[in-house]
Symmetry: C2
Subunit: 269 residues, 2 copies
């Protein structure tokens, strides 16, 4: 039985050097697919490319226009390959109409001196926090994630905590549960509600325009995490002239910083 996430990110080689994907009903958002699933599919175009070197370190996706329900093409080109790093440029189009662009930096990584400077918030374990009951109006992709909120919950268009700082802390994982990999981690980086809704405590028209992910998870971190919930922490720095930022961390439940991620979100308020 194929997991919906795998179904939604599968890509088939095309004769022109691109790969063909298709939007998946389970991951649709208000307009077009959930950005995280698009990011995962684009990252997959790099990772399954026969020329891919090492693993992704940095990944930026720019959402240029809504992706229509149906097929799309991703073209991933290695712009430069060095001894231990590789730089990719990507476009996602539908009938030559560009819907997203991206860049990725991959690298062969090896052990060095290491230290995590950020501290994982001390919170109740996932098992002690009730899963969120989704609002009837929630878009389909929300059903693909199990969330357990510690702060900054967005449900039924209402925030249940102090909105200042636009902070959300939540346990989150794919549902049905799926062992964590880098593609799922990429999608999880976009699984926070737009900060403007948390800050304003109501629904606001909003959409991510640019998303950057830095991957810190080791293969051992991913294997250790398996299919248990991750801790996600997101906040905003500033809301101004129709755009706001979001910065977020994703932690394993045993305290490894798996990814840091940033995005800029358009909003109408």
């Amino acid at each position: 039985m194929q997991h919906p996430f795998d179904r939604a990110t599968v890509l088939t080689p095309m004769d022109d050097g691109g790969v063909a994907g298709r939007t998946d009903a389970a991951y649709m958002n208000m307009v077009g697919p959930f950005g995280g699933i698009t990011a995962a599919a684009m990252l997959n175009a790099v990772m399954q490319h026969p020329d891919c070197l090492g693993e992704p370190v940095a990944f930026t996706v720019n959402f240029a226009a809504p992706i229509a329900a149906g097929p799309y093409r991703i073209v991933a080109l290695p712009a430069r390959t060095n001894r231990s790093t590789q730089h990719w440029t990507l476009t996602l189009d539908q009938d030559a109409d560009v819907k997203a662009t991206a860049t990725a930096v991959c690298a062969r990584r090896h052990d060095t001196w290491s230290s995590t400077e950020s501290r994982m918030p001390q919170v109740a374990p996932a098992a002690d926090v009730a899963p969120t009951r989704l609002a009837a109006m929630a878009p389909p992709w929300c059903d693909q994630y199990e969330t357990r909120f510690l702060q900054g919950q967005l449900a039924d268009g209402v925030v249940t905590d102090d909105a200042r700082g636009a902070v959300t802390m939540m346990w989150v994982r794919d549902t049905p549960p799926r062992p964590l990999d880098l593609l799922a981690l990429a999608a999880l980086c976009d699984a926070f509600a737009p900060r403007i809704m948390v800050r304003r405590a109501r629904r606001v028209a909003a959409g991510t325009v640019s998303l950057t992910i830095y991957f810190h998870a080791t293969p051992a971190d991913l294997a250790a995490q398996a299919d248990r919930p991750l801790l996600g922490v997101a906040r905003a720095s500033t809301f101004s002239r129709g755009y706001h930022d979001q910065r977020a961390e994703l932690w394993s439940d045993n305290g490894a910083l798996l990814a840091t991620t940033h995005q800029v979100v358009y909003f109408k308020d």
Copy 2:
């Protein structure tokens, strides 16, 4: 008398649709030019493009290989233009050898509800902090910035404050002073020493591989700031397997958040 920053970022249209630039001795780093000046030149290729819509909102540069001293070409293409947003893809090459890639999102911005959630650190004003005396071994680009350190100074390969958290706070501006604009702001986003050197309190081989900038400054913010020092605050989340992140804020001296920026840095330690 042309300011060195303007000289180093000037671009000349070429017959092939690209623009020609040239590395500048004043902004050289240990290997190739200072990443901030390359970022500024690439952003300039977008902003001076006749088809440019609005102002930059998000900008990501990937440093793929050292840029050799001499001429280079930047090709900036609008991948998609919407009513109020525009998505750019860029490459910088030398004799068809790709040295950097980038993406930019531009937008026509207008007033909306706004709020800055981050707080500017309460620090001594720039006038009360002595300018840094540069180490003899500092690369040329360091001479193009006046820095006044409040925390996490890197000079003579020694940090003068507690290195934990890899935090740097400094007042910084172009020298000679130059009225702030978005190009200078982009370069300033890369004007922090690599966090690994602050954390380890010694020189370490390191280089930025990917840099993302979110622009928050309004035209009024830039005009009000003029040529006075900005407050820069940078820190790292994690150092692991040859790479570390950096997240930073740039504040005007009257408390406006001008830009937030993130980067991934390669290090050998």
